[in-house]
Symmetry: C2
Subunit: 158 residues, 2 copies
Amino acid sequence: MIEVRAIRRGEGHLIIGPTQQIAETHWGGAGAVKATGADFEAALFNDAPIVGAQLAFVDGAFAGSAFWHRSFSTNYGKEIMYLEDIAVMPDFRRMGVGEALMKAVANVAVARGYPKVYWLMMAWNEGARKLYERVGAEIEDGNCYCMLEGKALTDFAA
Amino acid sequence: MIEVRAIRRGEGHLIIGPTQQIAETHWGGAGAVKATGADFEAALFNDAPIVGAQLAFVDGAFAGSAFWHRSFSTNYGKEIMYLEDIAVMPDFRRMGVGEALMKAVANVAVARGYPKVYWLMMAWNEGARKLYERVGAEIEDGNCYCMLEGKALTDFAA
C-alpha cells in the first residue's frame, strides 16, 4: 500500500537518498551531493520555510520523495510552486509511487492557493515524460538551464 | 550613465513593463500578464519576502529590471537564487544594461552567501545566450519546462 504524507521533524535525512538517486542519473554522481540531513531539517523546519517535502512509503518502507520550494510568477503576480526533485527509490519503481507523489504535490499547491506548479525535466528522460503526460502536465521543449556558481559567480560579481 | 540598484517601496509597478516585454517575445503577449503593481509591492515588501528585484536606469530613465526569488538546492542543501526575469526596455538595448543587471544580481547572491544563481533561457534566444556566455555562465541545453496550471492542476489534484 502506498502512503504519501508531508515530511515530519526529524525526517530531514530521508531526503538524502532521493537526492543521491537524481545525482546518479543527472549530474555528478551520489558522492557529489553536499547536503546533509541537518541542512534539510533546518530548511524545512523554521519560522518561514521556503521549502517543503512529501514522502512516500510502500507498506511502511520509505520509497521516495518530492521536494518543492515556493516560487513566484511575474505573470500571475502570485506565489507558485516549483518542484525541485521527485525521485522514487530503485526497489519501489513501477508501482505508482511517482504518480502518488505528484498528486500529493498538486494537492499541496491547490491547498496553498497556488495557480501553478512547474518543474524541469531533461529531454532524454522518457520515463519521466510519460508520467508527466499522464498527469496532464504541459511540457515545453527547447529550454536551457543556465547557471553561475562557485568561482564563475564570485569572479563575475567582483 | 547606467545605474543599477535594489527596488524601493512604491516602485513595484515598474516591474510590469519588463514582464510585458518578456510576455511579448516568450508567451501570450503583453495583454496576458495578470500581475499588478500592488502584487509586486506586496511580494517585495513584507516580513519574509521570497523575491527581490534590481532596477536599471540610464541617465535617470527606467531601463529594465532583474526579478529573482529565493530557491533551494537539494545538492548543496542550501538556499540559492533563481533569476526569474531579466529584461531591458526597447529604447535601452545594446548599451550594456543587461550585463549591468546580471552583475548586480550576482552581487546580491554573493552578499547573501548563495553558492549559485540559475535561470532558464529559450534555446532560440541567441542574444541572451551571448550575454550569458560573456558573463561566464554555464549553459545546459536539452531541458524541458513542465507545468500543471489552472484546470489541469485542479483536475489532477482532485
